[in-house]
Every structure is written in structure tokens, then in C-alpha cells.
Subunit: 477 residues, 2 copies
């Protein structure tokens, strides 16, 4: 805590990037390590990840997925089995060339992702349609060597989950791809109060080796998009490269149909950049490691601390995550520390309140303060406040998203919106990668995802040819 | 499942090592990867680890520990800061020399353990006694290059937890060291039905960099010991090497007092080798991923499967981990598969049983079968059976341990016990490492831990000098 005190953070509008880094540090979410691009997840930041993981893991298991753990190291020869895949990842790999005191005959890469390991294993253990589907998931960290890194958004090591499933039919695999996309979207909404724009990635933007990549994209406070999760349909591409065959019901050998899907600690970055304000972090109540902080006023007065702990006990027993700040700092300091950490509710309790049998509860998202009775309804009132706060945060983020979702038909409009209004720009596109590249070159905006909007004779904003799709473009992280 | 069928496993007494490997494979706990010493934790094996992790993590948090995540890679210069530590681990390190497409200026090692990273971070964030204690824990995998490897027992990569704490006083740090040792011991007893021998390691056997290493040692079915967890008191050694200072209450700079402690997936190996039998795995009920398997007899007969699912629903609602095996295999096959996987209880239910309103329940640990009524007492009866089974398994293991704990006074007795009776041999020792080495050389037995037994003029079994300690020796994994 002591690190916080007299340090202020940069204002969002002055320098959003600086504000972001300040919040990450001052809220004690992370710290830098001595290896560039490798961060330390401090207790408060890691606790947020634990809550995300617990929520997703439950949903994965409810939908029939099983957790496994694959080796951290991949032989280069294995990584090379699928052409697009190795082309996509080889340039980002950390390579182990020495083991113990010996040079290795074959260099090993630290997993940038584990498709190849899952494929090799599936090929060994699957024989018949009776062995299908196999729906495995892994929680681990992966390493991708990055030149420019930012906490949670882009790092050389990050924590994630990677699901890898194989199925006996294309239909079933495509269903799985969309099911997991939906689980991501609803979890972002219900746990993180994050509205997501979803859709297909273009050929250029899809995952190395995938037939189809679906994405969830969030809009940050500064009007930039953040890819927050992806779900891929692989068809039989990897199956053929890794010889993943099974005996189907017609007793014929057939290649399996495959998916993979993942979200990472990037979601923490999204939470910070969507909900945060100039006082620091604002955490959605359901993911907050501490949901309620109790700040005693004049805590040296007899009975004040006792009352604070009594309230803490009551809330804990009701399943709330609550803490009393009994440190020797002034209430003012405690308030600002709790605000910096984005703790959803702050209970203030002093001698006068106790006399009145009341306490003050302040909401972090809008600063609204109200008096509540210290009675049997306190827990119910707090749960109501937490749900209210969650909904307010989601609605505010959704409003921001909708206000920054602009449909354009010309390059001029496109550039104008990007430069002034920012956010997502929906534009007709002919489907050629060439135009996609030109748009990126001219505007630094990339295609985030293809919308499901129908085309009615619109022309590509780049080449003027018949448009095939309406695409969400945006500057992005 | 199909992999199991007609494959038998080697008998324990014919070849214990082969039996062990067979069980690991046939129970589908793990599989080998294409990198030597790196195994795949399959769903059934990983689920056991998840249950161990959940139980320990809860106890860590209840005792005020917080989870963090440190980088996977350590600069060689950082690893070298503490002399004993680097000497202990450098020979086992996997070294990353390339990142992306470039050679690294400084090679990075994949963490063999994370002391150095925690020390570097603590040195940065701790200033005053107000910041102490810091009690962090990390769940991750570590890499130690091993020449000879065995699933769960010794691998080049394994999953573990590593706790690292710093304190303002020696007393508090020593208390922490013993508290965590006790948490390990009680968890092994209450969750894994494993009795442990605990004590101090000798100078020769203690952790690289530690002042004192405490160990929990289990006795395997074959009479060999398995080190199953350790808790270390570091004193101020690392603190001085990493300049971990704090301003104490007397306003003076002082070095922190440190501990670390860990258990790994080795515990799964202990469970297999202590409880298993010639039919495969025998899992303690509280850690078993599936506690009850329901096998329908003549499942094509109307109502049989419905009844099986009805029972499954009832048990699930009571919080039990239960599965119906409705596959198209014969009951006999299902029985042996369930036995191979060590599922604690098997419910057999057929048309006749349903008529009688009864079912047969078989206990995996002793094969005892009994009829039970399909009534409101079923859940209670099953919970009683599971607890009974847990206690029987613990008592059996404890009996085996006690029967293989022999006190000797001469080298002749020592050798005789080791060769015939096996197990732990308690012998007086002068305290010299030289004698310890000679004993190892002559018998291949190592000192496992120092007992708290008092010495009454006994002589060292090796040199005949005055004995200082009574030590538990054993052949070990």
C-alpha cells in the first residue's frame, strides 16, 4: 500500500497510454521483471485472473470439456508439420538449445500455443468414432517473443486457456466453435461487464492454420479495439498434417474435424481500459477480488473497529469478499487507495453512524454515497448495489460502444470518423486482401471482424468494386 | 477406454517398476510426449492434481497466503546471485539462447524453481516492517533436466506449487516453515490417506541455499521411500544475496527472514505406489475424480438405465462425483476398467435388484460387496462407505509403514534389514557427512530425515564414534 500514497496517476485524456501503465502499477496489479516483456502478476492482478479462470473453467466443464496439461516444450520438427502454423509462429518462438550441460540435438521451442502437441496426442489415442469427440482444455502460460510489449495487452509471456477439440463431423465441430465463442461473449458480459462485437476474421486476420476464426472485440475508452478472445474452426487441415484419423460408423477411415479457442490475461487489460477512470481502476463487482472495503472513521474510538469487524463477519458469512482497512493511514488515504484498486463498494463507519445504527456506502463507479441501516437487510442491500453497479457499468460501456460504431460508404468518411470520432467503422469491402492492406496502409485501421449485415449493391470503399461484405474496421491494440 | 480392454498389467511382485508404468498408462493418467522426460497429463491424471491443488490452495489462503505468477524465464546472472543455489540448479537447467529470430545477449533459463525471482521482487516492494510478512505462493510447472525419468516421480518438467515468504523475525519464519510442513502432512493424511514420516534433512540432503530443510517422506509398497514435499527455512542467506532489507520497528535496517516450501505431482506417484494393487489404481475417495461408478446390468432391459441415471442424479445432487457407464461393453469389462482406474465405489444395478429395490455396492480397496436399499439412506450409506474406505486405506498404509520402520545399532543389522525387510532403517549417526556418504556407498540407502529420538550413548554405525542423532535411512526414489 505504502507505494501508493503521494503518487498520483496521469489523467486519461492527457495521455491514455501513460494512464494505463500508471493504473497497472499503482493498483499493484503487476510489476516488471528483469526480463523485457515478462511481467510479474502481483496478488491483486493474479486474483482477478483466478476469478476469470474459475468462472470459465466451470462453464467449460459443464459443457463436457476436460482439463489436461501438455509439455511446455515442442520439438521444432513437430511445430513444422503444419505449414501455415509454423509460418505464423516460428518468428515469435523462444528456443531452448541447451538442456542440463549438453547442447540439444534438436532445438525445442517454448509453446507459443499447443495445437501441435494436442494433435500428436490425439492421433495416438483416437481410433474410432467411439473415442470422439475429445474436448480438452489447458490452463497455462505461453511465450511469444514480442518487440513492443504492454502489461496484459501484449507480452512475451502471458497466461491463457487453450481449448482443443476434435469431432466426428464438420457440423459438430462448427457448433463447438460457435458454442465457445458464445461462452466467451456471455462471460465477458456477465462477469466483466464488457460488451463485445463478434464476427468472422478475414482471411488475412485469421489464425495460422485455421479455416475460420471468430473473434470477440471490445472497444476501449480511447476508441481503439482490443481483440479479447478467438474461437477457430480448423476443418481437417491439422488432421491431415498429423494423421488424426478415426474409423467412422460406416467403418471407413476419416480425418477428424477440429477446433481451438482461447482467452488470455488480455481480458484484464480490457477491464482496465473500458471501466477505469482518473481515480484508477473500476472493477466489475463479480470479478473484484475485494467487493467491499470497510473504512472505520476515528477507529481509535471505542467500538468503531469492533463494529467494522462485526460487519465484515456478517458480509463474509453471506459469501461476499470483504476487507476492513484498519491500517494507521487517514480515512482519506484509505479512500483513495480503495478507489485506485477499483473496489466496488466502500463502507464508511464512524462513532456517529454507529449511534444512528447506520453506515455510509459509496459506489466506486459513480461515487454515489448513501446511508444504510445496520440491520438484517444490509447484505441484501449490498447485493442489490453490486448488481446495480454491474449493470450500470455494462450499460455505460455498451453506450460508448454504440456511440462509436459508425457506418460509412466512402474512404473520406472512413478517414474522418477514424480521426475524429474514433471507434469501429463499418464499411463495405470487396473481399480482396489487397484492399484490406491498402486501407491499413492509409488509415492504420485493420479489419476487426466481418459483420452479418447484408450487402445491397454497396461498393468497396477502397477499389469501388462490388462489395461482398460489411466489415468492422478499427485502430486496435 | 478402448485402450484398456484386453491388456493386463504386470503383477506388483513380479516387477514393481513395470507394474507402476503399466498402471500410469492403462489407467490413462498420463502419456509420453515426443520430448524425453516431458509427459502429458491426461484428463484422469490431471483431475487428481486439480483436486490436490484445490484442497491445498484453500488451506494456503486460509493461512493468509496469496497467489502470484512470476516469469517462466530467469536471467542466468540472477540465478547466480546465491552461490549454493546456482551450484545446486545450474547443472539441471534448460537454457533459452534464441528469442524470436535473434540470439539473446544473456541466456535465460526456464525456472527450475523461482526463489531468485521472488527475492528480486520482494527486494523491490518491501521497505518497512509494515510491509511484512509477505506470504506468496505460485502454482506452475518447472523444468529440471533429468537423465533418468519416471512418470510423476522424476521428470524434466513437473507441476508443483512453490510458496515463498519473508518475515520480520526468525521466530515467525521458523513458525511458518513448520506450519506449512504440518499442512502438507495433514493434507496427505486427510486427502490422500498417506501417512508421512517427517523430520529435518541432513546438511548433505538439504535444499541448495537453505539453512534447514524439513521433509515429508512416504513409504512405497516396495519398501522404498519417496520424498513427497519439503519446507525450508532460509534464514537471511538469500536476503543478504538479494539485499532484501526492511526498516524494523526500532527504525533500523534489517534483513528479512525467509522460507520456501513445495509439493508436486510426485504426490500422484505416492498415491499410486502406496495404495495400488494388481488390478490397478486404488484412489483415496476424497481425491478420486470419480468416486462412484454405476454399472447397469442388462442395461437393455426396460427401466435399468433410467434407474441408473436416477441414482446418478441423486448422488450428484448430494455433491458426490459419480458416473454411469452406459457404454456398449460387457459388465465384466466395465468392472475391470473401473478397477484399473481405482474408482472407490461401484454400484451394480440390474432388473432383479430394481425389483427388490436394492443395489450392490462394491468397495475397490478390499473388493467387499454388499446389498443396499435404494432408499433415502443411500447417500448417507455411500458417504459412510467412502469415509470407511479412506480410513481403511490410511490404516493399511500406516501398518505397512510401522512394520517397515526398524531400529538398528550396527552396520550388519542395517544391511540385513535393507536387503530383507526393506523400509526405513533408524540408525545412530555421528553427524559427519563422510559417514553418510560411506553408508550410501555401501548400501545405496540415503538419509531421509533426522528423527527426534534422543541419543543415549549409542555409537555411529559407520565410524563407531559417539552418535549425535538417530537418522531414518532408506533406499528411495
Amino acid at each position: 500500500m505504502s507505494t501508493l500514497k503521494n503518487e498520483a496517476i496521469c489523467s486519461m485524456d492527457t495521455d491514455f497510454a501513460q494512464w494505463y501503465t500508471d493504473v497497472c502499477r499503482k493498483a499493484e496489479l503487476m510489476d516488471y521483471s528483469s526480463v523485457k516483456g515478462f511481467i510479474i502478476y502481483r496478488p491483486y492482478g493474479y486474483a482477478i485472473w483466478e476469478n476469470i479462470r474459475e468462472c470459465l473453467d466451470k462453464k467449460f466443464k459443464e459443457t463436457g470439456h476436460e482439463n489436461v496439461y501438455m509439455p511446455m516444450l515442442i520439438p521444432t520438427s513437430l511445430l513444422q508439420k503444419e505449414a501455415d502454423h509454423v509460418e505464423g509462429f516460428a518468428p515469435e518462438c523462444a528456443v531452448v538449445t541447451k538442456g542440463g550441460l549438453d547442447d540439444l540435438e534438436e532445438p525445442l521451442v517454448i509453446r507459443p500455443t499447443s495445437e501441435t502437441l494436442f494433435c500428436e496426442h490425439y492421433a495416438k489415442v483416437v481410433n474410432s468414432y467411439r473415442d470422439l469427440p475429445k474436448k480438452y482444455n489447458q490452463w497455462c502460460s505461453v511465450v511469444r517473443w514480442e518487440k513492443t510489449t504492454r502489461p496484459f495487452l501484449r507480452g512475451s509471456e502471458f497466461l491463457w486457456q487453450e481449448g482443443h477439440t476434435i469431432h466426428a463431423s464438420e457440423e459438430e465441430a462448427r457448433e463447438e466453435t460457435l458454442r465457445m465463442l458464445d461462452i466467451y461473449k456471455t462471460t465477458c458480459k456477465d462477469l466483466l461487464a464488457l460488451p463485445m462485437v463478434t464476427g468472422l476474421k478475414t482471411e488475412k486476420e485469421k489464425f495460422a492454420g485455421a479455416e475460420a476464426t471468430y473473434t470477440i472485440e471490445a472497444l476501449m475508452h480511447d476508441g481503439k479495439a482490443l481483440q479479447s478472445g478467438t474461437s477457430h474452426y480448423f476443418g481437417q487441415g491439422f488432421a491431415k498434417a498429423f494423421d488424426m484419423k478415426f474409423l467412422n460408423k460406416e467403418n471407413k477411415q476419416e480425418y477428424v474435424y477440429q477446433t481451438s479457442w482461447g482467452v488470455s490475461t488480455r481480458l484484464i487489460g480490457a477491464v482496465i481500459m473500458v471501466h477505469g477512470d482518473d481515480n484508477g481502476l473500476v472493477l466489475p463487482p463479480r470479478v473484484a477480488p475485494t467487493q467491499v472495503v470497510i473504512v472505520p472513521i476515528r477507529q481509535n474510538v471505542d467500538g468503531v473497529l469492533d463494529k467494522a469487524y462485526e460487519i465484515e463477519k456478517t458480509l463474509k458469512e453471506a459469501g461476499l469478499r470483504v476487507k476492513v482497512d484498519a491500517s494507521d493511514k487517514s480515512p482519506g488515504w484509505k479512500f483513495s487507495e480503495a478507489e485506485m484498486r477499483g473496489i466496488p463498494l466502500r463502507i464508511e463507519i464512524g462513532p456517529k453512524d454507529i449511534e444512528e445504527g447506520k453506515c455510509v456506502i459509496a459506489k466506486r463507479n459513480d461515487g454515489v454515497k448513501e446511508k444504510y441501516n445496520l440491520d438484517d437487510n444490509l447484505v441484501a442491500n449490498i447485493n442489490t448495489l453490486l448488481d446495480k453497479m454491474h449493470n450500470e457499468m455494462y450499460d455505460k460501456a455498451l453506450k460508448h460502444l454504440n456511440e462509436h460504431m459508425t457506418r460509412v460508404n466512402t474512404m473520406e468518411e472512413f478517414v474522418d470518423v477514424l480521426e475524429n470520432k474514433t471507434g469501429f467503422v463499418r464499411a463495405p469491402w470487396c473481399g480482396d486482401t489487397e484492399c484490406e492492406l491498402k486501407i491499413k496502409e492509409q488509415t492504420t485501421a485493420t479489419s476487426r471482424c466481418i459483420t452479418d449485415q447484408e450487402v445491397h449493391g454497396e461498393k468497396c470503399i477502397c477499389c469501388g468494386k462490388e462489395a461482398k461484405k460489411i466489415v468492422n474496421f478499427a485502430k486496435s491494440y
